[in-house]
């Protein structure tokens, strides 16, 4: 297998899932592509928008590191991680990960791994602005616990 590709994008702009997946499909040895797309949900008290802050100096390196960990664990031909920041409205896409492999299990597991690590190890913070005011989204204990199944850290 040739060297796996890593594509990391941190941007205010939207992305195109079809284009990203098609790029990962290229190459004769990719049989399976798994994608995860996260999207701004509406909340009970009416979400006006979500503000996503990040740590510019650290974000690219943190996402690349997570992608490299996935490549070290599974036989992947490519990994893509895209995360937006700035002002996002209900229905907007927030982020995506995608993995390509010969085998479906490797593609599924590595995509779930990327998501679990991205939730708790990539420097993004979400603030919700609703009709009732604004507040930072709290981290979930379950997100930290999700890392246990991969043996941390």
């Amino acid at each position: 297998m040739s060297t796996p590709s890593i594509r990391v994008v941190v941007s205010e702009d939207d992305f195109d899932l079809g284009t990203e997946a098609a790029a990962l499909e290229a190459g004769p040895d990719t049989g399976a592509v798994v994608t995860f797309t996260g999207r701004v949900r509406d909340v009970a008290d009416g979400l006006r928008h979500m503000q996503i802050e990040h740590y510019p100096g650290m974000t690219d390196a943190a996402l690349t590191d997570i992608a490299q960990q996935a490549i070290a664990r599974w036989p992947l031909s490519g990994v893509t991680v895209i995360h937006r920041y700035g002002k996002l409205r209900p229905g907007d896409r927030i982020m995506m990960v995608a993995t390509a492999s010969r085998h479906r299990d490797a593609a599924f597991e590595s995509a779930a791994f990327l998501m679990d690590y991205l939730k708790s190890r990539a420097p993004f913070w979400k603030k919700e602005v609703t009709n009732q005011g604004e507040g930072w989204v709290a981290s979930c204990d379950s997100d930290e616990a999700a890392l246990d199944r991969w043996g941390k850290p």
Partner: protein, 83 residues
């Protein structure tokens, strides 16, 4: 030594700034936090619940007892909520 100190999310909001230069002789991140808390109430308040504070030294996630020898940039922030 001179450190660039960064704050994100509600730490940034409580302290009222996103970055500042700090002249300090603190040996560890925890020492630096103690110095900051002694300065002003807004720092003391921001760091009052340390279970909710994470830190990065030179852009790598690190525990609070990390040495500051050779460090140039220290960032403080709540647990991450990406994805």
């Amino acid at each position: 030594m001179k450190l660039q100190v960064l704050y994100f999310a509600w730490l940034r909001e409580r302290i009222g700034l996103g970055r500042e230069d700090v002249i300090t002789e603190a040996a560890t991140v925890a020492d630096l936090i103690a110095e900051l808390r002694a300065r002003e109430d807004r720092y003391d308040l921001a760091f009052s619940d340390m279970t909710a504070v994470r830190c990065a030294v030179d852009q790598m996630l690190m525990p609070l007892d990390t040495s500051l020898v050779g460090a140039r940039e220290v960032a403080f922030f709540p647990p991450m909520t990406g994805g």
